[in-house]
Symmetry: D2
Subunit: 148 residues, 4 copies
């Protein structure tokens, strides 16, 4: 996070949580219901208050009714009263590239602010981190609806 580098204080805010967040995203993958794609994905969401909610992809015979792991994690957190988030980690079985969220998931994250760190992992556990703005630049958000 660029801004964090310059700030003296907030003390590496994710340090405590990051390994756990990554671990939970891998674990969450085990619950994936993906009989159609056979492409399991897990996600772990860190709330502003420090709690973690996990999600997996849940597919449907009518493919369009499936839901990604990232959205599942957000839905769980919202339905438990959380609406402020800090980071998401995503895990899949892909070895050679870092798994990324689809455009729909980026948009759902965007609904709850742009201050997100997104941890993209490989199956071996290595990761890179991106800001949501880097994944969904020039985004449409709640405030845009009020402009008409």
């Amino acid at each position: 996070m660029e801004g964090d580098r310059q700030r003296p204080a907030p003390a590496a805010p994710l340090t405590d949580h990051l390994q756990l967040l990554l671990h939970r995203s891998r674990e969450a993958k085990n619950c994936a219901y993906c009989p159609y794609s056979r492409f399991p994905v897990g996600a772990a969401l860190l709330t502003a208050s420090g709690e973690i909610f996990t999600g997996c992809n849940v597919e449907n015979a009518c493919y369009s009714l499936g839901v990604c792991a990232e959205r599942t994690a957000i839905l769980k957190a919202i339905s438990e009263g959380h609406t402020s988030f800090r980071a998401m980690a995503i895990a899949s079985d892909v070895c050679d590239t870092f798994i990324v969220p689809c455009g729909a998931c980026r948009q759902m994250m965007r609904e709850f602010g742009t201050d997100w760190d997104v941890y993209l992992t490989k199956a071996d556990g290595s990761y890179i981190v991106k800001r949501l703005e880097e994944l969904l630049p020039l985004s449409f958000g709640p405030e845009d609806l009020k402009k008409v």
Copy 2:
């Protein structure tokens, strides 16, 4: 349901759970994120093992990325390892009619079998119960995909 194995007769299997299920669906409504429709909905899902998972609707500035309460509840349960369900209760603020699930939610329920009781409530707490087959007759399901 585990408990059923020990019981001699099926004997109104939901009796123990029903009031709690209805209560939890009303409670879940409080977490709804619905700034666009201002139409909060809550759902409570009873698993075959007797656990309850709740959901609320979660909307998005890009309306099509919203998710209904019923689907949120199912996603939560799946992501915690449950795939066998018995009943769903749905609550809203509508007074004069029983709230019903949309077609998309009926289809998502259908993915996990047809043996569902769906409790449709009014704001005053009164309810009617329907079988999923009554709500989505002649349904398309996982087995149909294999017919081509």
Copy 3:
């Protein structure tokens, strides 16, 4: 259509269009983009003014962003200025059962009224016809949103 039986006049309103509607639904299937399911579907929609719009399923690597044939046909018609519909025919390669619309498609049809005849076909061209109310009983519709 029950109402039609009692009416003396409108003279089997679909007679002229039905064979063409069925034919167009089969043709539309050829444009299906379904590399993931390999389950091509076609749909043909008859507007109140007698025009036919066709659709096919269009899938996505992010499965949840796919769209069914029935919804594609409706979207095309709306985007050309039509909002009043009479019938839909659906075609697939399934031989042994009549192809049915998923719950999401039933809901999208419902948005534009309940006065729909839905022709469900087999690959051999045989068909049955259902009213939308038979496919989506106790439906949620535009008027329900206003009840809160």
Copy 4:
């Protein structure tokens, strides 16, 4: 594009089509069915062969079943046999910012390649153009599904 083969230099390939594309996106907005958001959007899609398909947003009482203008345009083109695209123009009634596609629409565009120019307009007709890679960097696409 067929025409490109004959031309010696790429030479502003959209010059001929751009004004028409922008015009058609504004026109398409008139067909929007958006009783819930009251936020009409139009889109015009230019195929590789030089044809234009238009779309508008089509909403649903079950908000999650709505479809954006951009996706409607793509669905129309696919259902008429086109799968290769060059550009999309998007129009809305927003005056002070350029309308952008949501993440779901960016993902649907991505399914059909990354070689897209996206024209983002204001209500006064002014525009900026972005490449799809700029709107959906580090994207997930069809080839990624094969990596597991």
